[in-house]
């Protein structure tokens, strides 16, 4: 069924799409990617997302282990106190 423009604009995701588009344009302008060709934009964005994903992955894997280590080293264990 063909929706009129009025109906299409009142669908809930169009204002969100506009907001995302304006933020994307601001990002392109501030980082000078606006003047680059499409493949250059894809290159920069993929490097950027690669770095972000590497950091996130490392965070997921290593942060629980480190927190466990720190907690283990700093909180006193009840059995140790009873022994001494």
């Amino acid at each position: 069924m063909y929706k009129t423009k009025q109906q299409r604009q009142s669908a809930w995701y169009y204002p969100l799409l506009e907001v995302i588009q304006s933020y994307y344009m601001q990002f392109l302008l501030a980082s000078t990617l606006y003047v680059m060709e499409p493949w250059e934009r894809i290159l920069v964005l993929s490097i950027f997302f690669l770095i972000i994903s590497l950091v996130t992955y490392s965070a997921f894997i290593y942060i629980p282990f480190h927190i466990h280590n720190i907690l283990q080293a700093t909180t006193p264990i009840i059995t140790d106190i009873f022994k001494h």
Partner: protein, 522 residues
Amino acid sequence: MIDTNVLTVSENMKIDKNNYKYNTTNILNHEDDLQCEEFEETPLYAAVLTYIGYAILCLFGWLRDFMRQSNIEKKRGAIDPNASLDFVPLYQSYESFYTRNMYTRVRDIFNRPITSVPGPQFELAERVSDDYNWTYRFTGKTISAINLGSYNYLGFAERTGSCATDAIDAIKSYGIATCSTNSEIGTQFYHVELEQLLAKFLGVESCIAFGMGFATNALNLPVLASKGDLILSDELNHCSLILGIRLSGACYQTYAHNDINDLEKKLRVAIVQGHPRTNRPWKKIIIVVEGVYSMEGSICRLPQLIELKKKYKAYLYMDEAHSIGAMGKSGRGIVDYFNLNTDDVDILMGTFTKSFGSAGGYIAGKKSLIDHIRVNSHANTYASSMSAPIVQQIISSLHVLNCPEGKNRISQLADNTRYFRQKLMNMGFIVYGNKNSPVVPMLLYLPARVTRFNREMLRRGIAVVTVGFPATKLLESRVRFCISAAHTRQMLDTTLAAIDEVGTELSLRYSTRYQHRRLKDI
């Protein structure tokens, strides 16, 4: 730092919705209202983003150059044909790197061909590029746009009207080429009429006209100065003045822009110490300034300069290219603007390209000076004399300027200038320069925003001139609006609405001295 002056102006003390008090001191450099100039500082985040932007462009430039060098990508720019034959390379400087990798990406905003007379509204040829601005093709359509780039200050760029009719009659009576130089057989009576009319208009003893404005500066400064003289020129002088100063063979020093204290210091040191090596006294000292600086919109400090030159017995050369016709109550330039005596400025130079709608330049001053130039100048003895319709256009426009219609044009220009500048500043944009100068530079800083601004304004039917790195400093890319007397209030309102909209989308409101407001709130 809030000055006590601000308390008397209630508008400047408004607090915006975030309860942030804007620092709204209007820096008045002089008690005069005539010299009220503002050059707001670059905000830190804009400077950082601009440097980052140029760094990213540089990185990509190296990447693309590497790809071109290793034949992954085709070389499209100018190629050195003998690169392998051990010759000195033709293109090695940073300038060609800049042209290949930064200028070409955004080349479609510069050098647009126009297809009508450059009046207040004109037609642009629409051109499209399929390969990212390396080549263009014309679609055949024209875009009608409001013209804010032409130096059409008094609106004489028109196809119809008394000036155009007179110029056409001049072609019919005198032809187009004079086929000779001024000193041989090329001086016609209309050249003499032009020089006499212009001398009477400016209020000087005598005047001489040349065919090209740039050449007037470049070829006549060597006549006036030579080895053994000192020239003190403002740091933001035009290329033609710099070329003339270098060609003359005189020693030259630059002083900080419009800074009278710096100039005085340099004058004193020069007079006391003389030549750099021999310490002999200078034969003469010439101070070279411009009336209105076209990239800054600032006006030279003529009263203080005249006082200085009388005190230290130097000569003053003023280039009124952008200010003749546009400044002053009767359009007679900066001398008229400050109500001073024309005898105080030794050499007045100007061009006919901007306010008179023609081409060429002139030098005006005492009769002895002009006679000396007439005999000794290369531009007079070797250049072909000015063509008849061009001279007639200037003569007609001078006649118009003496009538009430001309007075209307001058006051309309002043009105338009003040209105446009005031609105722009009230909206929160950074605008440089004196509030009465018809050249309005608005700062944009980031290279990507400069490109987007230009393209968005053209999409809305307004053609502007944006300037970036080599013409201005690296950080201070700007858009320069040239207001004309032919712009109607409605055109200016359309422009302001478009700037307001584009300025909001691109967040171009950098000012910390004025509140950021939308146009509908002013």
